[in-house]
């Protein structure tokens, strides 16, 4: 392991840049016109947070911070899967309902025609 003042300050500078990028992504999430824009922005924020945690785990020489980064990766994955799955399932149910209603209306029209 190479650890010197130069490496430490360099890693800290990288963390500062990534923090600024997180702020810009947050602005994107607020301005995003559609909800998928926001999901994409939150996805970026999660990834950048994982990167920052890994850099800090090297900076502080604490391996357990890498474990926290693993847990954070799992958490952001689960959050996005659940969110989009909910949207997809609701949309499918709505399509199914519209199809059933259309079929019922068609059957009724046929019955009246007789």
């Amino acid at each position: 392991m190479i650890q010197s003042d130069f490496v430490n300050s360099y890693l800290l500078g990288a963390c500062v840049v990534l923090g600024a990028l997180i702020l810009f992504s947050l602005v994107r999430a607020i301005r995003g016109s559609r909800f998928t824009d926001r999901i994409v922005a939150v996805n970026i924020i999660g990834t950048l947070t994982i990167i920052i945690m890994c850099i800090l785990s090297v900076y502080f020489q604490q391996p357990f911070l890498a474990d926290i980064a693993i847990v954070y990766a799992l958490l952001s994955f689960i959050a996005i899967v659940v969110l989009t799955r909910l949207v997809i399932v609701r949309r499918r149910a709505q399509e199914e309902r519209e199809r059933m209603e259309a079929e019922a209306a068609a059957a009724q029209a046929k019955g009246e025609g007789k």
């Binding site: 392991m1 994107r28 998928t36 996805n43 890994c54 391996p63 890498a66 474990d67």
Partner: protein, 108 residues
């Protein structure tokens, strides 16, 4: 010395890729185009930064954990992108205005 130079160069490259990804979310004007840019941050940016940290650390349990993070994110990122794109296409009412759509026959 050479280890430090390689590691810090990789970290710098990774931060640069992350910058490009965030810039892409401002440059593009539609979600599916934006996802194209942001997938960069999930895969290449993470790989470069963590590879740089692994080079700095050398072989240890700590770097093994970082390898686990890379493997997991490379497996999870395509799934997340796929689900996001699917939610976008299913809920957008005028998707034809944004991009070419080929109708998909759902197999029962």
């Amino acid at each position: 010395m050479i280890q430090t130079i390689i590691g810090l160069t990789l970290v710098t490259l990774g931060v640069f890729v992350a910058c490009v990804a965030v810039l892409g979310t401002y440059r593009f004007h539609y979600v599916l185009n934006r996802m194209h840019a942001t997938a960069l941050c999930d895969t290449l940016g993470l790989l470069f930064v963590l590879a740089g940290l692994i080079v700095l650390l050398g072989v240890s349990w700590h770097s093994a954990k970082l390898v686990v993070i890379i493997v997991f994110m490379w497996l999870a990122s395509p799934v997340m992108s796929h689900l996001t794109g699917r939610a976008e296409i299913l809920t957008h009412t005028h998707i034809e205005d944004e991009c070419e759509v080929i109708p998909y026959e759902r197999r029962v």
